[in-house]
Symmetry: C2
Subunit: 322 residues, 2 copies
Amino acid sequence: MIKTRVVGVGTSIDETVYAIVDVRGNIIAKNSFPTTDFPNANDFITFLSDRIIELVEANGGYESIRSVGISLPSGNFKSGCIEHSPNMSWKGQIPMAAMLRDRLGLAVALGNDAHVRALGEYVFGSAHGLKDFLYINLGHGVGSCIFTNGKAYLGAEGFAGEIGHTCIVPNGRVCGCGMAGCLETYTGSRGIVMTAQELLETDSRPSLMREMVIKTPKDVFECCEKGDELAIETFRRTGEMLGVGLANYASVLNPEAIILAGGIAHAGKWLIEPAQASFEEHVFHNVKGKVKFLTSNLNESERDVLGASALAWNVKEYSLFI
Amino acid sequence: MIKTRVVGVGTSIDETVYAIVDVRGNIIAKNSFPTTDFPNANDFITFLSDRIIELVEANGGYESIRSVGISLPSGNFKSGCIEHSPNMSWKGQIPMAAMLRDRLGLAVALGNDAHVRALGEYVFGSAHGLKDFLYINLGHGVGSCIFTNGKAYLGAEGFAGEIGHTCIVPNGRVCGCGMAGCLETYTGSRGIVMTAQELLETDSRPSLMREMVIKTPKDVFECCEKGDELAIETFRRTGEMLGVGLANYASVLNPEAIILAGGIAHAGKWLIEPAQASFEEHVFHNVKGKVKFLTSNLNESERDVLGASALAWNVKEYSLFI
């Protein structure tokens, strides 16, 4: 029987979505559960594999499934492990791919969220047809994945892509990683909220933001849409910093395009126009005017399982009787 | 006849060296002439090809030569052109590889100096046996080349590697490229001289540098060797900036090693120790403590022709009668 389906699993801090996906990216069946129910990684793998078996048996059977791909924060494709995640409760280095493979008897490929989502964009989304691009995920953190010649650039040990922790302001804002001036402290969600708060303290102009508690970039975005000057200035400053970080990246990597994704990318023109202006100002002349800015066009609820399904095709089929 | 030799050409602003090199990196014969004699690129190619033919005919004949590699500042491997060089007198986009091929009837591969030297280190030097490394050339400019999986990462159009023009100090020193705060303005030779001058103006300590005209980093280095505090502080500050730039690069690219080359790399411990300390302070924790710092071990007078000879093997043999 020709195996034309894979299982894609997308695990975030809050939720784990798992789906059967065919080679064209059609989602045959999908389900989810809260990741937070499993503070222990073994329990998570046991529960996840039981749920996958259930879903597969109810939808075409085990024989139709070629392999499994899973997206995990701090997942490393090269080692198949989740490694020292700052945000997940599973600590240390845990061989999640092998654990899942042993329970399912199927080959399992594992990647971090930026890698898997970039692959999803490459196979099914905005990056289709591009060979050299940067994928930037703007959310709580700022993750990225470099594609060159149609392949993910992973680095010697699979840790490449940490643009969020490149220093753009020497001795700048303190970052959760312990360093200072990281791009993430200005363009991650907490950084944007901090910029809004700093502006409210130092700029006396009236602002809708003064009458509310600014918790997320979405709150700032809503004020932008109502024409609020300080909210617009918040995203302008964020975009300026993002443009510097992306320009440094592009001067070194010479991509065709930068794909912006994640919740903050939805701030649209308020963020992307100043980011692009700052990018063009700070990028080396060889690259100036040549890098396309694109936004992700995958549905946010599906991008992880689609990307993970694309990753699943990257591993050889597994046999228990090799 | 099996062709076991290539011609390697290394062109810098001042001098062009050309040599016959065998597959093991032995230089069979070598000669040179001043690049500055040829303000016109056509005249340069005509003269160079005549000299190559002379050298080849006196040393084993044309039939033994498989192909030619040439290193040029602002050379682009993907296009085979020298492109908008800020430092050479040959302006615009000039198809040097095709021009040389047409005169010699041999396949010609062309690369920029960082690319060619990195390849030289990979095949014959410090990077032998490494697969993922960064090569940094510290000189008048700060050039680099990324190697991944044993291949040079060139980017969509062959312009990758411009680490010298990444911004490390927002609104910092003005760069020759028109931007501000570029790494090159702090760690290139003019930047180092400027740091020494700034220190002499703002720090009242006695210094040997006060009694001389500081023209090059070598002048500063000589004062370091005599224990001069301000000279040592000059390289400490330079190293600190270099460490930030390299850390950003390594957080994104996760290399096994960084190879430092070029005249300034000879400043040895005065530069490399503070650079490495700053690097470890600014690199993301996944990569911390894992990146080896190495220096080039190729002879400076030979590295360009050796690298160019390695590049020559990258092109298919050329036949006039295809």
